[in-house]
């Protein structure tokens, strides 16, 4: 008999690597309303814990919507409060387009 409580696999992974003068964060998978709390928790924790600039490798980020973009905006604000910057690298064209539509491309340093 099937159990009544449903637990679905989360399609999001976040890796963190401390380098000499910045923290590299690799986000892979999909950020939507189901996985966004994991992104928020991880990203905010990385900012609080390291207090360094952050380079987020988005080359394996397959999908993001406004829930995830809101978390990026919150992370930017949090980093700015401690005078740190967030760099985004490897954005796929369809995801970069969302940053442009929402004006978030002006907050982050977007590298190819």
């Amino acid at each position: 008999m099937c159990r009544m409580v449903v637990s679905m696999k989360q399609e999001l992974n976040i890796y963190e690597e401390n380098l000499s003068n910045y923290v590299k964060v690799v986000i892979s998978g999909e950020v939507d309303i189901y996985t966004s709390s994991k992104l928020k928790e991880s990203l905010y924790d990385i900012i609080d814990k390291n207090r360094m600039d952050i380079k987020i490798d988005c080359s394996q980020l397959k999908y993001i919507d406004s829930t995830g973009l809101g978390i990026f905006a919150g992370a930017f604000k949090k980093a700015k409060e401690i005078d740190r910057k967030i760099y985004l690298t490897g954005l796929k064209s369809n995801i970069k387009k969302l940053f442009v539509i929402t004006g978030l491309d002006k907050l982050f340093i977007i590298e190819e």
């Binding site: 449903v6 679905m8 399609e11 999909e30 939507d32 309303i33 189901y34 999908y63 919507d65 406004s66 829930t67 973009l69 809101g70 064209s93 369809n94 387009k97 969302l98 539509i101 929402t102």
Partner: protein
């Protein structure tokens, strides 16, 4: 001879974990219709924006919502309905600025507040943008 539209309906629980199902279904239908991959990604984001908002705003009045895909030769229309009519006009100009900007930019036609028994919200994408 005029061909009629094909209609595909999806009934989803108002739960975050099922938003991906709407996205994957939209992707399959749009792909079958011949939309290119970039446009399919845009449609996936748009449908996800609406489904996420229903999940966020979902109340005890409804446990599920319906996504209705209408497929014609040159257009995919995605409409949404729920037993809870308070879910009409779910996007606010102030709180949902990102989501509304994204919907309007990615879809060709968007109607956010529909006063109709069959749909609460409807959006369309044309295979070739209308002139």
């Amino acid at each position: 001879m005029e061909t009629s539209a094909d209609i595909i309906e999806l009934m989803l629980p108002l739960k975050a974990e099922y938003v991906i199902i709407a996205r994957l279904t939209a992707s399959g239908i749009a792909s079958r219709m011949g939309f290119d991959i970039e446009v399919i990604e845009d449609i996936k984001v748009a449908i996800s924006e609406v489904c996420s908002k229903y999940v966020q705003k979902g109340s005890s009045l409804a446990e599920k919502f319906k996504v209705i895909f209408t497929v014609t030769e040159d257009c995919l229309t995605i409409a949404f309905n729920s037993e809870d009519k308070s879910l009409r006009c779910i996007f606010s100009k102030d709180d949902d600025e990102f989501a509304v900007s994204i919907l309007n930019a990615l879809m060709d036609e968007v109607q956010l507040c529909i006063d109709n028994e069959d749909y609460l919200l409807k959006m369309s994408k044309f295979l070739e943008r209308k002139m």
